[in-house]
Symmetry: C2
């Protein structure tokens, strides 16, 4: 709480604490809120390696009643507070009372640096299946523990931020209903404006083909179908890849394997939608029910091949953009579904009208 308060109020808040707690809190304030150091608790169970099990239990029972808050593992430290090993409470209580801790302790301790960011920390928890992780500084001195219940909140918050970014909203700092109207407006209007400016290029793209549309208005009728299919396939690809990168399933070096996979997937999905589009045009009479039947197959082919191309392009753009963002150390989740859709819209229009000119020149055009 003190971490979130403006710095001029911190002094006053610290003065309200007792001496021991104030020393602890002041030490923790040195860490960033989203570092391992900022999440940790300094009241952990410390023991020495030359203690026997019975001595350690007696010692911990005394410590607990005084100040320890959390106790799942007892950490074996040397005189300089360097972490030597760890004994779980289960092991301590289950071992013969006269055994020395140095014989009982595990020396291959899973630990985290105090400047590790919380995403990496949550992955370490997921891999290690531990209830608490010791936090050490660069010299190997133990500074505190982070417990898994704090990580649940971190995982939840990070997923929420990812979801909001995928929906093209800047991450909110508070729950939806607690976010002030104007803050929420700013966080939505920013991306909407960027996307709007991006979409104005569709006006330029379509404007180039205004004469063709004047000659064959039927062409414009399929524009929403084609660009939205590209956008939808791009949304699918980008959300899958953004999440897989976010939880560490995919790393930057995997981009090549993903590229080939999504190339095939784009061909398969594009082939499916292209075929559906072709059949839709050829077998469903146009709404005014006249005239166009001669050209139906040609228009159908134009629509079908455009769908194949635009879905393939959407799938590739959606899957590669998150990698590209990560390569330049930006957040892959910025590759929101709407951003990918906007990218695909302009190129989809150019593809469609170029194909139309190639296939329909001399007939409809």
């Amino acid at each position: 709480m003190i971490q979130l308060a403006p710095s001029e109020q911190r002094e006053g808040m610290l003065a309200l604490l007792d001496d021991t707690t104030r020393r602890e809190v002041t030490a923790l304030l040195a860490y960033a809120e989203d570092d391992a150091g900022g999440l940790m608790n300094t009241r952990f169970a410390r023991v020495r390696s030359d203690m026997t099990v019975d001595e350690a239990i007696r010692y911990l029972r005394r410590q607990i009643s005084e100040q320890l808050e959390l106790i799942y593992y007892a950490y074996v430290l040397d005189r300089d507070q360097v972490l030597l090993g760890v004994v779980s409470f289960r092991e301590l209580l289950g071992a013969p009372g006269t055994k020395q801790l140095r014989e009982l302790m595990h020396t291959d301790v899973v630990k985290a640096a105090d400047d590790m960011d919380q995403e990496a920390l949550s992955r370490l928890f997921a891999e290690s299946d531990l209830i608490a992780l010791p936090i050490v500084d660069a010299a190997g001195r133990m500074k505190g523990i982070v417990t898994v219940d704090d990580i649940v909140d971190v995982v939840q918050e990070e997923a929420t931020e990812d979801i909001q970014k995928i929906g093209a909203v800047e991450a909110l700092d508070a729950p939806y209903m607690q976010t002030a109207f104007f803050d929420l407006f700013k966080k939505r209007a920013g991306w909407l404006t960027v996307l709007f400016v991006g979409e104005t290029f569709t006006v330029v793209a379509m404007g180039r083909f205004e004469d063709e549309i004047q000659r064959a208005a039927i062409l414009s009728v399929f524009v929403p179908l084609i660009i939205s299919s590209g956008g939808n396939s791009g949304s699918q690809a980008s959300t899958l890849i953004v999440r897989a990168i976010g939880i560490g399933e995919l790393r930057l070096r995997d981009w090549w394997r993903v590229f080939w996979r999504e190339l095939l997937m784009g061909c398969a999905l594009g082939g499916l939608l292209g075929l559906m589009g072709l059949l839709r045009v050829v077998y469903w009479p146009s709404s005014d029910g006249e005239g166009d039947t001669d050209h139906a197959v040609l228009v159908g082919a134009t629509v079908g091949f455009s769908l194949l191309g635009v879905v393939l392009w959407g799938t590739l753009a959606g899957s590669m953009l998150p990698f590209l963002l990560k390569r330049f150390r930006l957040d892959p989740a910025t590759a929101s579904a709407p951003l990918v859709a906007t990218l695909v819209d302009v190129t989809g229009l150019l593809l469609y009208f170029t194909l139309a000119l190639a296939l329909l020149s001399g007939t409809l055009l």
Copy 2:
């Protein structure tokens, strides 16, 4: 693992276990994988209320060395295994050795029913800040414990499923790279096909205005800009609301407050984009640089008001659809960004051309 195996292989797998473990596993198999019962561990620390602290510690030390895997709290049960209270290990170790557990234990135990689903369970963990929760049956008999480290995985998995649904992909059962190509194809092609069929209504909608487009091709040039703005604002609204419902920030009864909030938000965002659209049409010469300037203000007004309407409608549809789905006991996350965009596209087109007819009849049309 046995839970995931096909039932005909279960017998063989169970035969590999020792007697005690087999009894435990068989009992757990009665629960669904995603219920509290399916997540729980039956090896918890049981004590009686008439034990003293010293007796309980001696008893637990013997139990631990034999079979207990996890120990953070000791649960006080009566002869019928009904849960009476709980003592944390910290309290047990810190208390005077002669004190009876009935004086030490907390009787207001936070517990979960064995058929509680895992989403509700993860919320209970978040609210209670406990490391482990006792699981009881309908008669109050304690069946096991669920520890918070299992919940981290649950929270992570559920967020991933939500994200995949928001991207209009059916939830994957395995990581992206471990999902077979054809499974991935099916999970993407299903929704893409549904959305494609939905989008074919844009062909019908635009087909109705083919004559108007023939007369004023300039009208069709703004179609992608208008429908994508509706889709983008809908994506923002639906992802915000889907996530807020998913983590329990919003409940069904909140729909009315959200409705008014998003109505205002839709007007604000729509006003912004509408104004930008109006200025874009009036002050940016059309690509062919001739002719349209007389009608620029009228076309600008048509585009501007259409943007206002479509963004307002997208925002309302995106925010209300998740509530509607929840009302009918469907998953709110089904209100994916592409689904909302598809819904908005058809109505957006009708709105735009209807406005165009009203404002431009006698001039351009």
